[in-house]
């Protein structure tokens, strides 16, 4: 059995004004790809931020490589964990290459400048997400999908063990959805792990091996993907009647409408 990268120990996330949800108690091991599913406002983003150590939980805790998350210096956390945000804010103009390069920040000491290796890593990451030709473009001129792929490239440049991805395929066209998920899949098969929030059940069915369901009322269930993605369970999760089909060996769920 592979080592646990991330351990959730009776974790209750803090959402202001909401009563305590279910305590989460599971492990994310290297080689696993977890999907987080749930309706809007169920706490998917808050959970990812809590797992990255950016928000304090209401109770319980998180261990990263066996160490309590709160006790690890931020720089060390950033070397092991990359978080791709749902929204991207670009305060001042920066180029695509500069933006990918900031992924090297946790590895450099204050007086270091980025080395040729760092540049090569950033360029390779941009190549992987199909942005190789846009290196000197300003980020503000990119389309939503290109901006999203750039955020993925920054995370790849960060070279973490654990990828936390908040809606990684939003804004992406079908080809790039598959391409980005394949990149994640490849890293996971090499010993990394990924936890991603998704609004598309079918992507979770196809690309994740474990699933966490977060309910509107704070309840939660988790387990292997084939046990969790059942028609009745999902209908209750989204409060929406669904139709189940099959495509390419994986179940497909479509809203009944």
């Amino acid at each position: 059995m592979s080592e646990p990268l991330l351990q959730l120990e009776d974790l209750v996330i803090h959402i202001p004004g909401r009563p305590d949800g279910s305590a989460l108690r599971f492990e994310v091991r290297s080689g696993q790809c977890w999907g987080i599913l749930g309706p809007n406002g169920a706490g998917k983003t808050t959970l990812l931020h809590t797992l990255a150590g950016l928000r304090a939980p209401r109770s319980g805790g998180v261990r990263l490589n066996g160490r309590k998350l709160g006790g690890i210096p931020r720089r060390d956390v950033a070397r092991q964990t990359a978080l791709v945000f749902q929204d991207h804010h670009d305060g001042f103009p920066a180029t695509v290459l500069e933006t990918a390069l900031i992924g090297r920040h946790p590895y450099l000491r204050p007086w270091d400048v980025e080395s040729a290796d760092d540049m090569a890593m950033a360029r390779a990451a941009l190549q992987q997400v199909d942005l190789a030709g846009l290196e000197s473009r300003l980020v503000g001129t990119l389309s939503g999908g290109e901006r999203q792929r750039l955020a993925i490239a920054t995370a790849l440049t960060q070279d973490p063990r654990l990828f936390l991805l908040d809606e990684p395929v939003s804004h992406l066209d079908l080809h790039h959805q598959v391409a980005v998920l394949e990149i994640v899949r490849k890293r996971v098969s090499k010993g990394c792990a990924a936890v991603m929030s998704l609004h598309d059940v079918n992507i979770a069915a196809r690309h994740c091996d474990h699933v966490l369901l977060l309910y509107q009322d704070g309840g939660a269930r988790w387990g292997p993907v084939n046990e969790m993605l059942q028609l009745q369970v999902l209908e209750r999760l989204y409060a929406q009647p669904l139709v189940q089909g099959e495509a390419g060996g994986a179940p497909v769920f479509v809203p009944k409408g």
Partner: protein
């Protein structure tokens, strides 16, 4: 990166030397470049020595330091507040300094006391904003900005009050101080030391500031300890601004415009912008001050008038042709 930085700084250093040279040459009695060189190396006739070494050099060095201090402070404030409109005065530091300076002018105190009172006022305002923005709740750039802007408005009201009750004879001196005036700046040494120390301290923070400019959460996710970094940047900017206003009053515009000009031309890497701002701010204010004392000589203009008159068209041009 380091090669590019070296090139940019070399060019700016040459330009700085040229600006300082021009400032030493021009004035009521022009001094030729050769004579300036002779005087600086210890020779020359007594008139030139007195003109260059006693009158023009201290003022020129004060102008350069003030410009550098304000430009670096502005660059730091813009990153700290993630707001391109931020300048060194936006958080009320200059207002506090102005109230201190004007009160001591009202009391008819000596120039040295006016400077001391300005520094004390700047410090008081910094601590006030620091304490109030800290508060009990969460700390955000917006909260800091609002606190600073409101404190600045309070100082503004006090300044208007002092101007309204001040005797007519005091008003020109007060207005010159408010517009920024280098004619009384005689001791630029401490300002140069502060500028050098802060630029050396801020340089290793440059990459963290690049990340911080993309937002606090993103910076934290990349391993930056955001809160301590923000307070360090705030305190550095406050020290720079307090030093500048103590030396020359509230010279406007340099702190807002120089960082933006540099960003438009050099990109947005703070490791390049911060040292470049120290030099470019110095160059701009040295040239502006030279103009302010020669353009309608023997009368002198407050240097703030020139910085705005020069800076506005140049900045608008750069903005217009930028991508």
């Amino acid at each position: 990166m380091s090669g590019r930085l070296a090139t940019i700084l070399s060019v700016l250093c040459l330009a700085a030397a040229a600006a300082i040279g021009i400032s030493l040459m021009l004035g009521s009695v022009p001094v030729s470049p050769v004579d300036v060189g002779t005087v600086l190396t210890g020779g020359g006739d007594p008139l030139h020595q007195a003109l260059v070494l006693e009158l023009r050099l201290p003022r020129t060095l004060a102008a350069f330091a003030t410009g550098g201090l304000l430009a670096v402070a502005g660059a730091l404030m813009q990153v700290l507040l993630r707001n391109p409109l931020a300048d060194p005065y936006v958080l009320g530091i200059s207002g506090g300094a102005a109230v201190g300076a004007l009160l001591s002018m009202l009391a008819g105190l000596a120039t040295a006391v006016v400077s001391g009172a300005a520094f004390a006022g700047a410090l008081l305002s910094t601590l006030l904003v620091f304490g109030l923005a800290h508060g009990t709740g969460s700390w955000t750039p917006v909260r800091l900005l609002l606190t600073g802007v409101v404190v600045a408005a309070g100082w503004g009201a006090l300044i208007s009050f002092i101007l309204a009750v001040a005797p007519g004879a005091e008003l020109p001196g007060m207005l010159y101080w408010l517009m920024g005036d280098l004619s009384h700046a005689r001791h630029p040494g401490p300002a140069w030391i502060v500028l050098a120390i802060v630029v050396l301290l801020a340089w290793p923070l440059g990459r963290s500031l690049n990340v911080l400019a993309r937002g606090a959460l993103q910076a934290a996710a990349l391993g930056v300890s955001v809160r301590p970094l923000e307070w360090i940047v705030y305190l550095l900017a406050a020290v720079l601004t307090a030093t500048a206003v103590t030396l020359a009053g509230t010279v406007g515009f340099v702190g807002l415009i120089v960082p933006h000009m540099l960003r438009l031309v050099l990109g947005n890497d703070q490791r390049i912008i911060l040292p470049a701002a120290a030099l470019a701010g110095g160059i701009l204010l040295t040239l502006a001050d030279t103009l302010s004392r020669t353009v309608i000589a023997p009368q002198q203009l407050p240097v703030g008038v020139i910085t705005a008159l020069l800076g506005v068209p140049v900045f608008l041009y750069l903005l217009h042709r930028s991508r």
